[in-house]
Amino acid sequence: MSIPYDQLAAIRLGFGLSPRQPSPGDPAAVAASVARAAPDPDGITLDRMREWQRTGNRLARAARKGGAEAGRASREYRMRLGSRHRADILARFARAVDDPGGFGERLVWFWSDHFTVAGGTLYTNLMMAAFVQDAIRPHLAGRFADMMYAAETHPAMLRYLDQGRSVGPNSIVAQRNPKRAGGLNENLAREMIELHSLGVGAGYTQHDVEELAALLTGLTYHPKHPGVFQPKLAEPGPEEVLGQTYGSPQAVANFSDIRDVIDDLATHDATARHIARKMAVHFVADDPPQALVDRLAGVFTDAGGDLAAMNLALAEAPELESHFRQKLRQPFEFLVTSLRALGADGPQVSALKPGVLNQRLLRPMAVMGQPWGLPDGPDGWPEASEVWGAPQGIAMRINWALTHVAGLAGDLPDPRDFLAHALGGTASEAVAWAVPRAESRAEGIALVLASADFNRR
């Protein structure tokens, strides 16, 4: 089967086909389409977060002092922020549904997962949204080092991996107040090497982790303080990470040392291999061909970690066709791809009521194995098809296709037309045979959505 490039790219690198819009037709156009995933000017940012947290904290303090009025004001404020968070989730769905190429929004998901932060509470949920906006979207076609720097120093990451509570044992704060002196916290340092840059198989030691932890001291966040660095908390240098020395004994470590070490980690040879493999695993196959990994690693190294070059190399990869449908769509992708195939558009998705969002998208997504913003750990969502293809997950996909589609998409198309829209020329014989034999329109649509053809990419 030879697949037209626009369909191939939309299915493999985007969120599938849409009856409303054509997909980009050549690799350069696919790579260029990433620009559409730029930050949203109305989106949640760190600057907005600071303001919201200051206001929210002030109202909460007033509420604790008592008075029904103050309590109500604080509750209402939290409810407003909660609806802001729901609007942000809907915007994630809507942008993905509306993006003709889809590659940019897929990259947003990929990189937000590479630099996993989790939510769970009102402010961590909002901060996670700010993280995607501030640290991920601006760098999708920029330097990996810039994205890594933005991600590692973002308050969402500092909180998630406990960096904000790491204090240099010889920092000014520790010396002034030895009684409540803290100490190092290694969490961010370890994951920065193990997950975000070199990868666990690379040659580093516990010593490197501890030295990096010392070097990262000073990174902290408080909504009232500007920036994310407090020199008073920082351990004086020097620190040696992977044989390189950062900082000096005279001076307290400063922000530029942290920038330097991230630059070095981000451009390390092991990082090139780790990122190349991770992209190949996510976009091409659970067990990708080594030739592709080597090629991507070469591009990463030659281009100095320029992600635009990586995006183009992926869009041009012949393995997109040779390894067609070797990946299983993750639940978020499955839902977006379904909405897109059903002809939904962004404004329609953005207008979904909170109850509909919960009942028809977020809860099913959780049963499929992907609760919004709550991966099990900092290694993010798994990639293996077997994980997403567990019986309970597949059952939920089938059940969703049968019971929730009409409530989301309104009037259902003719299943035979839908088959052509959703899968283009890529439908297998069995699907083309089965769909017209369904008992009802709804069942015919569900058969397409539940098919392996549709769930794979």
Binding site: S166, V200, D376, G393, N399, E439, E443
Partner: protein, 380 residues
């Protein structure tokens, strides 16, 4: 603060139980799986066993923890389990680990715990889980024998032997025509074909949900579902609980996680009724945490950790294995609790006692290369 635990007694060795264990012959299990039940709970994120058993970080040794044996004291987060301890239905191995060392990665640590292999295999090569290898040597097992519960299909059960995987939240209702058409559609895709067939089979055998039963938090739903399956044909159940990675504010986070674990075990006990008497629950974690407190009232990734074992089949009321102490020189790498025994040895002896798996099969097939050593006398 920096040496939260080093003020403790330097060491107190608790010897292995020397009592001879009546070895059960495999023949007694010819019609296995029989009545014995094993539940393996993986605690993802690395539980701080030192705190769970010494309560040194959360409260200090003299504040609120319950003395168990004059040396170990139970963290208040586990206090709901005290009746089990007193009834002799709970025990701990306070200083155990897998063979995983030094890089202290959760993910590699969990892979090794679930794969049950040694360090001789590349981590990427560790695909199958040890509960699946148990199934491969178990006589008389059927596909219902082992169950992975929750949204995640547990790696510990992955492998060629058939096993079930289901989440109590999942549902599937198909018309006969849709079922027939789907089976045609999935015919050439083994993953979808097998998953959907299994889903249909599971759904057909589920008890309809009682409408008056309110949805419980996930860990209780899992325990309830596990008990329901174990009361039927299932004999091995596994699921995971997350939330143990207490890098900061451990006093609060660990108490909550231990509370969830306690309630999970008690829900299992209640749901199993009389079958509790033949049940062994093993709660295992990928590694322990640093002996010293870090700068954020938490602990970082360590090495030796604790395993909790509960159940009517357990010979409890005593702590298992040795205790290396927390003196500076006794720590692994100068920072972590020194493991004194391989956690797999306990699992192996449990499988020997309850499923009649011969020693050499445990050492060659289930945990290749492991020396399972002396019987710790874990089970009655």
């Amino acid at each position: 603060m920096l040496s939260r635990r080093l003020f403790l007694k330097t060491s107190a060795v608790i010897g292995c139980s020397a009592a001879a264990h009546p070895l059960l012959s495999s023949a007694a299990f010819a019609s296995a799986p029989g009545e014995n039940r094993l539940v393996v709970i993986i605690l993802r994120g690395a539980m701080d066993g030192i705190d769970a058993l010494r309560s040194t970080l959360s409260l200090g040794p003299d504040h609120g923890a319950t003395d168990l044996d004059g040396f170990f004291a139970l963290h208040p987060g586990l206090s709901d389990l005290l009746p089990l301890w007193r009834a002799g239905q709970m025990t701990f191995a306070p200083a155990v680990s897998t063979p995983y060392r030094d890089k202290r990665s959760h993910f590699d640590g969990q892979n090794m715990l679930e794969a049950g292999t040694g360090t001789d295999l590349d981590l990427d090569a560790q695909q199958d889980g040890w509960l699946n290898r148990l199934l491969q040597v178990m006589p008389g097992q059927v596909s219902e024998t082992a169950y992975s519960m929750g949204a995640e299909q547990m790696r510990i059960l992955r492998g060629p032997a058939p096993a079930k995987s289901w989440s109590p939240d999942a549902t599937l209702n198909l018309s006969p025509q849709a079922e027939m058409l789907l089976s045609r559609i999935y015919h050439n895709d083994p993953l979808f074909r097998d998953a959907s067939a299994e889903a249909l089979e599971i759904v057909a055998g589920l008890s309809p949900r009682q409408p008056d039963k309110k949805r419980q938090p996930e860990h209780l739903e899992l325990a309830r579902f596990a008990a329901d399956r174990l009361n039927r044909e299932t004999r091995i159940a596994t699921f995971s609980l997350a939330g143990w990675d207490t890098h900061a504010g451990q006093a609060g986070t660990l108490t909550r996680a231990l509370g969830r674990l306690s309630k999970t075990i008690l829900t299992l006990q209640a749901g199993l009724g009389a079958h509790w008497d033949t049940t062994t629950v093993m709660a295992m974690t990928e590694f322990g945490r640093t002996a010293r407190e870090n700068g954020s009232a938490g602990t970082d990734h360590g090495t030796g950790g604790a395993m909790l074992v509960a159940g009517g089949a357990v010979r409890g009321g005593q702590v298992l294995g040795g205790w290396p102490g927390l003196a500076e020189g006794a720590l692994y790498d100068g920072r972590d609790l020194m493991p004194v025994r391989d956690i797999r040895a306990y699992a192996a002896w449990a499988m020997h006692a309850k499923f009649g798996i011969a020693k050499d099969r445990l050492e060659r097939a289930v945990f290749p290369g492991l020396d399972i050593g002396q019987d710790p006398g874990l089970l009655a």
